[in-house]
């Protein structure tokens, strides 16, 4: 791989051990994947924040790296952590030791200059890339959103490679940074209505199981709130099948950029999706209802005012969303919703308290059984809540 003089010096350790380590990671990845050179990135987004997922191993590494003086060179935001950093006691699943270690992880990141946004949807407020920009993002649901809906360019980074890219301010040029890898590979004709996040998620799971690479969707039926709910389709594709990019005809910015014929054309109908709902329908009654995977947008939060919870209902949002819309969030809390900010029900140890979770998220329905030992129910939003008698203001 070609390196500039400056990059060579960084690799030799002239600018300190932290930069040297980060550079070595990028160069090794670049060489293995055949990158020509490193390219500048405009932002990074880092996963691997919850103490539940990275444990003492991750905490050790991050503390050591921070103490070497590592600093990020570009805008860098952070994924959700394992607890609400303000209200963790009242959620009733976090002990002192967990909380202490979780706060140390966040401190290590902020010490390196990372913004503790604690959200998997940084693209709403804190970290909004522009069309065509190269970025280095981890968090698979944000990766597919950035590539597909925004038209920014990123590979599916892991936690340490996104951090290394943030420290160097660059990433190896391969994969989805190159146009030829962004072209649709399978045409998926959707002959059904998509009316709820759960429909979009179930579609994502169904299509991911066909081992698609860059699916190109034609939505023949109704697609309600597509611009808001598209994240549920992407998140499910990414969780179930490692998909990093999709196109939606007439909607995503690159859908007609690459003119070509598809050899694979697949039709998806209502009955296909029904199978997914049937598979994810735990026989026991839920003790937790969970919304916000990926984290909710402000439009979705406003939409919840039409309803009220019928049992323990968690709503997951980012710290940036919480700070920007405190009044709305306080009102939802007053109406009985439990606001889990800066965290979510997948990366938090909910198994300490709950056994059966009902959600409207395809992605969460994939991860809850393994990460949180939950018996899971995938259900449409209106069937998880009840209509509120209060004015929806």
């Amino acid at each position: 791989m070609y390196l500039t003089n400056e990059e060579e010096k960084a690799l030799e350790g002239e600018f300190g051990e932290a930069l040297e380590k980060a550079m070595r990671i990028l160069v090794a990845i670049g060489e293995v994947y055949g990158a020509e050179r490193l390219i500048k990135i405009s932002s990074a987004h880092i996963s691997g924040v919850s103490y539940k997922t990275i444990g003492d191993a991750g905490l050790d590494f991050l503390q050591d790296l921070a103490s070497l003086g590592a600093k990020v060179r570009v805008k860098t935001t952070l994924n959700p952590c394992g607890m609400d950093p303000i209200k963790w006691r009242s959620l009733g699943i976090i002990d002192e030791d967990f909380a202490k270690k979780q706060m140390k992880i966040i401190e290590s990141y902020t010490h390196m200059g990372v913004e503790p946004t604690l959200t998997c949807t940084p693209y709403y407020i804190s970290n909004v890339p522009k069309y065509g920009e190269d970025i280095a993002w981890a968090e698979s649901s944000a990766v597919i959103y950035a590539n597909s809906v925004i038209g920014a360019k990123t590979n599916r980074e892991g936690a340490p490679s996104a951090l290394a890219a943030a420290i160097v301010g660059k990433t190896p040029m391969y994969g989805y940074h190159l146009e030829e890898n962004r072209i649709g590979t399978e045409k998926i004709i959707v002959k059904m209505d998509l009316e709820d996040p759960a429909d979009y998620g179930a579609l994502g799971i169904y299509v991911a199981r066909m081992n698609v690479k860059v699916p190109y969707f034609v939505l023949d039926g109704k697609a309600l709130n597509l611009s808001i709910y598209v994240k549920y389709l992407g998140a499910a594709l990414a969780a179930e099948g490692s998909v990093a990019m999709m196109h939606i005809e007439g909607f995503t910015p690159e859908w007609n950029k690459y003119k070509h014929e598809f050899s694979d054309k697949i039709i998806v109908e209502k009955d296909d999706i029904k199978e997914i709902f049937e598979e994810k329908s735990c026989e026991d009654e839920e003790d937790l209802i969970a919304l916000g995977c990926p984290h909710l947008s402000v439009e979705e939060l406003r939409g919840l005012l039409k309803y009220r919870p019928k049992r323990t209902t968690w709503i997951s949002i980012g710290m940036d969303m919480y700070k920007a819309h405190k009044d709305l969030i306080n009102e939802l809390e007053r109406r009985g919703y439990i606001i889990a900010k800066g965290t979510c029900f997948v990366v938090s140890p909910i198994e300490r308290k709950f056994k059966v979770t009902a959600t409207n998220s395809g992605k969460a329905s994939k991860y809850l059984p393994s990460f949180c030992k939950q018996c899971v129910i995938l259900r449409r939003t209106k069937d998880l809540l009840v209509i509120s008698d209060e004015n929806s203001c």
């Binding site: 380590k21 070595r24 990671i25 090794a28 990845i29 060489e31 293995v32 996963s47 691997g48 997922t53 990275i54 444990g55 003492d56 191993a57 991750g58 050790d60 590494f61 981890a138 892991g158 936690a159 340490p160 490679s161 290394a164």
Partner: protein, 129 residues
């Protein structure tokens, strides 16, 4: 026998050779405190990878696996070197942050029957006997 390999994480390491035909997920397959393989499905179940040359096709599973490799190193029970068929990001990153020599491009089948390995991840070769 000397086999050419691609150097990925620089360094030199040697030790008894341990071979797994199955991919390894460091998160879940290996105990970070002892370096012992704890996944019953793995052919190396109950064996220690500490200070051995560990050969397996490629890494799988969570990217947290990179951090587990770092913890193995801090606990003094990391492998002396790693040989992969195709190195992928989890193992590459883990090897670099933990200073574990790593080479790839070696067919795991070609190592069978040998019990000791020297890995040179500067020059790019593996010597087995």
């Amino acid at each position: 026998m000397k086999i050419l390999a691609r150097p990925v994480s620089k360094g030199v390491g040697e030790g008894p050779l341990l071979i797994s035909e199955k991919p390894i997920s460091f998160l879940g397959d290996v105990d970070p405190k002892t370096g012992i393989i704890i996944n019953k499905e793995n052919p190396l179940y109950k064996k220690s990878i500490a200070n051995k040359v560990l050969a397996f096709p490629y890494g799988v599973g969570s990217t947290v696996g990179s951090y587990v490799m770092y913890q193995l190193k801090k606990n003094g029970v990391a492998p002396a070197a790693i040989i992969n068929e195709n190195a992928e990001t989890i193992i590459i990153v883990g090897a670099i942050i933990s200073d574990i020599p790593l080479v790839d491009g070696v067919r795991i089948n070609s190592l069978k029957g040998y019990t000791y390995a020297i890995v040179n991840a500067y020059e790019g070769w593996v010597h087995v006997r």
